[in-house]
Symmetry: C2
Subunit: 423 residues, 2 copies
């Protein structure tokens, strides 16, 4: 196979005609295939149907009635289970409702309105505050900072995490940089895990702003595709060792362990940070749904059992990641118009097409019935400077649909590339 840059105009025109014919055939099938969101499939959520098997007794082991008011920061056994999973102490853990995104939003809102532990002034009372945004990244993170009017600075992602030279340089000089979004494990969408060095540098770097905080969205901590899996350093430990115990707020949830719409979430940080924010949250709510916490602890049991459950998830979705790689390889290898990662966990495959071709590729796919995350969504303000990155979310569709969608996407990638080269 020749790379496209070695083809002459005639060859490209010819290939374009072939592709257009295939494309039209797909279009005429009136397909409706959705690969836009990182959503577990039905077979995956079925794995947790046992969640409601033990509802006869809704009291904690200490005899607390989960059906009634109380326990702002969650039931003790849930705090302990998460503490064990993340190698923390239970006092560092706050257990919330069904959405860790909501906990992150609430954290930003509290930092903005009232200030967090150790703040001299709320963020909202300071001018032109900024956040560092490793990109490609998670569109919903960027949407939050954008809604709060926080300026976003794009940080390129390298193979071992965000570009730390750039990060350290910026935070050491600019006091208006107040925070940073991180998905440190099987990052959305690049699938890569921050190296120990990157974690240590984030934990220990000098920041001009004393109220600089890291939002550590550890969403995919247990979401391995293979038995031999990535490992992530405990940043809360590292931050404490480095003398920055209050720098990091970690978040996670069972959304992609049990039920995406009905799991439980956690926030973890230093004891002081958690004690401080508990006081603030006590004004916001009497407490989160403890019945769901209790059912989760009973169903998930212990880290070993969770590991087994996650292996079942992997067995369902690994073939989907494989199918994406197989079809993209078959159709595009050697053409020099696309590259993509083969993540060892998480929910996404990050695809880069020729610069200036992502939007067009996604539009072509859409017209042929394949919905992808909008091009650019993985960058702050939806603005991918290279117009090159496309996020593929392979978990939800059945393999057969996924294969069709990837065949179509391959055609669209080629078509957009030829259009671009022909100019």
């Amino acid at each position: 196979m020749q790379t496209y840059k070695d083809l002459d105009k005639e060859q490209l025109e010819k290939r374009k005609e072939e592709l257009l014919k295939i494309y039209e055939d797909y279009k005429n099938k009136n397909l409706k295939l959705d690969m836009s969101r990182g959503k577990p499939c039905t077979e995956q959520v079925d794995l947790s149907n046992g969640l409601f098997e033990n509802t006869d007794n809704l009291f904690t082991r200490d005899g607390f009635d989960c059906r009634n008011y109380g326990l702002l920061d969650g039931i003790q056994e849930a705090k302990e289970l998460f503490a064990e999973l993340f190698d923390l102490s239970a006092e560092q853990v706050f257990v919330g409702g069904n959405s860790s995104l909501n906990l992150m939003y609430d954290l930003i809102a509290k930092a903005y309105i009232f200030g967090l532990n150790g703040f001299e002034k709320p963020w909202g009372k300071q001018e032109n505050i900024k956040f560092l945004c490793p990109a490609p990244g998670y569109d919903r993170h960027f949407a939050i900072t954008e809604q709060f009017g926080i300026e976003m600075i794009t940080i390129p992602m390298k193979n071992d995490g965000p570009d730390m030279d750039m990060v350290e340089d910026l935070v050491s000089r600019d006091e208006s940089i107040k925070g940073m979004w991180c998905i440190p494990m099987y990052s959305n969408p690049t699938g890569l895990t921050y190296s120990d060095t990157v974690v240590r540098r984030l934990a220990s770097m000098k920041t001009k702003a004393k109220d600089f905080r890291i939002i550590w969205d550890n969403a995919y901590a247990f979401h391995h595709l293979y038995d031999e899996h990535d490992k992530l350093l405990n940043i809360l430990d590292e931050a404490e060792k480095a003398g920055n115990p209050d720098r990091v707020y970690m978040f996670s949830s069972t959304s992609k362990i049990t039920f995406p719409g009905g799991g439980i979430s956690i926030m973890a940080s230093s004891r002081e940070n958690i004690a401080h924010i508990k006081k603030q949250i006590s004004i916001q709510t009497i407490g989160y749904n403890k019945i769901n916490m209790l059912l989760h602890v009973r169903f998930l049991k212990n880290p070993e059992n969770i590991k087994n459950l996650m292996r079942k998830h992997a067995d369902i979705i690994r073939p989907k990641f494989d199918a994406v790689n197989e079809i993209l390889s078959k159709n595009l290898n050697g053409k020099g118009i696309a590259r993509w990662n083969n993540p060892r966990g998480g929910y996404f495959i990050s695809l880069n097409v020729l610069n200036g071709c992502a939007k067009r590729t996604v539009a072509l796919a859409k017209e042929a019935g394949v919905t992808l995350t909008p091009a650019g969504a993985t960058y702050p303000y939806g603005n991918d400077p290279d117009d090159s990155n496309i996020r593929i979310a392979p978990t939800y569709p059945p393999v057969s649909e996924l294969r069709t969608a990837m065949e179509i996407l391959s055609v669209c990638i080629e078509l957009a590339a030829i259009e671009k080269i022909l100019g």
Copy 2:
């Protein structure tokens, strides 16, 4: 029985000695009785144990999988059930998580940071904003406004609702008055329901501030103690009729219908207000726990079934309200040192002792093992200008404990009154 003001010093001293003896006897029993929060008792929450009976299939009637992501504003059948209950259209209803307090907090936060539908400027960008706070009222409401630094103006409660002459006068003159807390039915703690006239005046009054909003916490809409019950006018209808369709945000929940820690909540307003805030909430979360919504709709079924369930609640707690009235009457009638209401619904009895005696009464009770809501808590800033109001929450303790607690409280009321009179 003589009123205390007709007793001379000697008689008072004698009575004080008698009371102190009884008080010491109670103290020596080392009791621990909690009447501080409006908390359903175990027998009440047991009424909803059937909630988890139908968990085999977690799909909505339209085939939507409640276990997975999606449906920001809740499942359609939940919206429709609440719409029917409150005589609204489903498009006016947003179904949330387990806490309506959290929805109210979130509303204030959004008004403060971003502004709501129809706002020219967020509240947080305006100076010295104020809220009207009918009092005695709900301490958690006041805690929210206090946290946001919103100045609170106490509005006296009359028999048919807040003092509307004062309310109308203030809002017509002062542009910095941006909102008002209301618990319009079986109000916390007075137990009274706003009259039709009051509702219409609130809906139609002229306000200097265009961004004046009413937080209508309809927490006790179905919480009648008797078959013949209070009725509340639909303020959303009245506000629309009066040309102020966007003035009112209504809140309610199933916290005291099913499970206080595990119910579902709603926010209702004009279609435009709901459409506007849905966009804002879409940044905050992907959605609330829909499994719990589905289980609630299946368990609660329809308004008639809810009425029957609420009748069972009433049968459990009515004897507790009766016991409070019986014991207070027996011990205090005719003494001129206390008056209290006999509510027809809700969760509280509002007790007024002699001016300057509430704090002392609560402290005496505490010392004898009876925990009450702190005196003053029912007023903005915890400041009851008369130091007279005490909130009694009779639902949680068993009747026998409640009777003991009320005997003790009666002694404390008398003791505090005598101390006060003797000076």
